[in-house]
């Protein structure tokens, strides 16, 4: 008997995009449409109704096999189809074509804390969340102490989670999820939360889970996490598998696709670029672009030239106590620095933020810029909004310095002394 645990053949997922104003279908519209179509048929029996629909293949023709105990990373740019694939594998949505065979229980962590209820206490939420993730009551009771210890919330067990700090909340949520024991574990970007120390703990726990012989599918933008956890990777782009194989090889290909695909300006309105965002967020990013020192839009800038980041968004009402920020990550997905707008209120309408960068900060290489907005009724998170390439040539045309390692340019000063007498 082969030890293949997941075999997928020719998986496709089709979405129908409706070009209506409203996000949701309503019965009223449906009745009106039917009426119109009927009237049209009576007036002009042969004309077919104009279609306000468009099909979009989020995934097409995916075939792969995953063996028992393998840890497989799924990587790709925003909108490559990673999340859709995970949703199909975890049976949240069904594919439009193809077939998948899986042996064993599947548990998915597409977002930690799903089903947490703010009014309930930590203890109650552990049981509830455990049950939602597919654990039996016995199983939860057995692991209860372990979960509490892992989350470091012993003192707040009987406090409603609405009083938890966001750090505690996330720790508790991950702790429950980390103690699942399915044959197949599907993880999507959960490590983007919590502090550095807790992230490390989570990575350790996932490593332990995988070493226990279970199969782990892991999606992340953090290539460091991917390469330390996964031995094999699948690279998706445009809903197709571009490459699969050993992690290092696939990551190299991924970086190459990034290089090709960078534009100096990105339209941020498509929902698929977002992660864990509110669909009806009161503020949404709409556009991002990079201006070089000549005020031209470009994704490539020279190391020693200043550049400007322009972020635009739309607020559908006046908003207080909210903030937006950006982050700069290395090409491997490692966060370098971030910054938040000092202005805590956002006025209704289009808002433009301009951030000036000094020259000689980022070393030559690829960078990813992410955006986030947070506040009451606002969650908009775009982890990969735009890619920035810093080139190692001065704006005057001649090579500045021969080489740079790392990601930052430190304003170092060397002092060199030569002693004649040795």
């Amino acid at each position: 008997m082969s030890n293949t645990i997941i075999s997928a053949s020719n998986i496709g997922k089709k979405y129908i995009i409706r070009h209506n104003k409203d996000a949701y279908l309503t019965l009223r519209d449906q009745i009106a449409e039917t009426g119109k179509a009927l009237a049209r048929k009576i007036v002009k029996p042969k004309s077919s109704p104009k279609k306000a629909e468009e099909t979009f293949w989020a995934l097409r023709g995916l075939s792969f096999e995953i063996k028992q105990g393998e840890r497989v990373g799924i990587i790709g740019r925003n909108g490559a189809g990673k999340s859709t694939l995970l949703k199909i594998l975890s049976r949240i949505t069904e594919p439009s074509t193809g077939e998948i065979r899986m042996r064993g229980r599947v548990a998915s962590l597409l977002e930690v804390g799903t089903g947490f209820h703010p009014e309930l206490t930590g203890r109650e939420n552990i049981y509830l969340n455990g049950a939602i993730l597919g654990m039996s009551k016995k199983e939860i009771a057995r692991k209860f102490d372990e979960i509490v210890q892992f989350a470091e919330v012993e003192r707040f067990l009987d406090t409603p989670v609405k009083r938890y700090s966001s750090g505690m909340y996330v720790r508790l949520a991950f702790a429950v999820a980390a103690h699942l024991e399915p044959e197949i574990l599907i993880v999507d970007e959960v490590l983007a939360v919590g502090d550095a120390q807790f992230q490390k703990k989570c990575l350790g726990k996932m490593d332990e889970v995988a070493r226990g012989g279970r199969t782990v599918l892991f999606v992340s933008h953090n290539m460091n996490a991917i390469s330390s956890l996964c031995e094999r990777c699948i690279l998706l782009d445009g809903g197709k598998i571009i490459s699969q194989g050993r992690t290092n090889t696939v990551i190299k290909k991924y970086l190459a696709t990034q290089q090709v695909a960078s534009d100096g300006e990105v339209d941020l309105r498509p929902q698929r670029m977002r992660k864990n965002s509110l669909e009806d967020s009161r503020f949404k990013f709409t556009n991002i672009c990079i201006l070089n020192s000549k005020q031209k839009i470009s994704s490539h800038i020279f190391m020693n030239e200043p550049f400007t980041l322009v972020i635009q968004g739309v607020a559908n009402e006046d908003i207080e106590e909210s903030t937006i920020g950006y982050s700069v990550d290395s090409s491997l997905g490692f966060p370098l620095f971030n910054s938040f707008s000092p202005e805590k209120r956002i006025k209704k309408g289009l808002v433009t933020y301009k951030i000036n960068f000094n020259p000689n900060i980022l070393a030559p290489g690829m960078y990813t810029l992410g955006l986030g907005a947070n506040g009451a009724g606002i969650v908009d998170w775009i982890p990969e909004a735009i890619h920035l390439t810093v080139d190692n040539v001065s704006s005057t045309g001649k090579s500045n310095h021969p080489q740079y390692g790392g990601v930052i340019v430190y304003p170092y000063k060397w002092k060199i002394y030569h002693d004649k007498y040795t």
């Binding site: 979405y15 279908l25 019965l27 049976r91 949240i92 998915s108 209820h117 049981y127 039996s136």
Partner: protein, 277 residues
């Protein structure tokens, strides 16, 4: 649970092969969701319980005055008008709140539907459990009311659980169906309060079904709650006319039909919930 490793086959246009078995496997989640809803409902204990008491009592008072005193409608048995109304309010309130809660359940739990797999039928079904608790509270109020009027129920009260089951069937069936329709058509939920309000007048809650002319009785029983209400009154009140087998039979048949139809529709569309919600 881990004894046999199941093979899961995912294919388009086809739900799971073991639909009911899977539902059974997730029964604990059903308890937990019901438990969560009850806990949240009664966390602010005073308001939670008070609401369950105030609603039926006020309705009863209004109905007794409007139908009993102003319109001067007759009672069939020897029970005071207030108790006759309250006996009918029991199943009616269960039906109307169950239908309302269940119909919104999928939308309120949307984030669970888009993040995690589990048999979706659990969500609307578990919300009805909260209404069962409310029902039990209302039952206690009825007992108090009967004691106050010094009115003892008949021995037929033993059949009450059966008629409760009969109330559960259409509530569950309609609730499941409406929950699924609500996911697709977001404005459908505005229809429900209207249906509930309208239903109150075509169901013999504020009056006795004996005032409906004999020849229309069978037609009247097409409303499945009519059979339930008559059943409740027959169980709880002395001197009520005997139940008509034909009319109860129609009630049972219609209720089963609604449940079957609701579940069938739900099964057909549930695979797309995550995409459209």
């Amino acid at each position: 649970m881990s004894s046999a490793v199941p093979t899961i086959i995912i294919k388009p246009g086809k739900g799971t092969v073991h639909y009911w078995r899977e539902l059974w496997q997730y029964r604990e989640l059903f308890y937990f969701l019901a438990w969560r809803d009850i806990l949240v409902r009664y966390k602010q204990t005073v308001i939670g319980i008070a609401w369950a008491i105030i609603r039926p009592v006020l309705t009863m008072v209004v109905f007794t005055i409007v139908f009993g005193k102003i319109a001067n409608l007759p009672t069939a048995g020897s029970a005071p008008y207030a108790i006759m109304v309250f006996a009918a309010l029991l199943p009616w309130q269960f039906f109307s709140s169950g239908l309302t809660e269940a119909s919104n359940s999928l939308i309120t739990n949307a984030n669970m539907l888009t993040k995690i797999f589990f048999p979706r039928l659990i969500v609307p079904a578990s919300t009805i459990i909260v209404c069962v608790v409310d029902f039990l509270i209302t039952l206690v109020i009825l007992a108090i009311l009967m004691a106050a009027y010094q009115f003892a129920p008949s021995w037929q009260a033993l059949f009450l659980p059966l008629f409760f089951l009969l109330a559960l069937l259409p509530t569950l069936g309609l609730g499941i169906w409406v929950a699924a329709v609500n996911v697709k058509y977001r404005d459908f939920r505005y229809v429900i309060p209207f249906v509930v309000q309208f239903g109150l007048y075509i169901t013999p809650v504020g009056f006795s079904s004996t005032i409906v002319p004999e020849k229309w009785r069978l037609l009247y029983s097409l409303n499945p709650i009519v059979g339930v209400v008559d059943g409740f009154r027959w169980c709880l009140l002395r001197g009520e006319p005997a139940l008509e087998p034909a009319s109860i039979g129609i009630s049972v048949f219609i209720s089963l039909l609604i449940l079957f139809w609701g579940v069938k529709y739900f099964k057909k569309v549930e695979r797309n919930f995550a995409d459209v919600i």
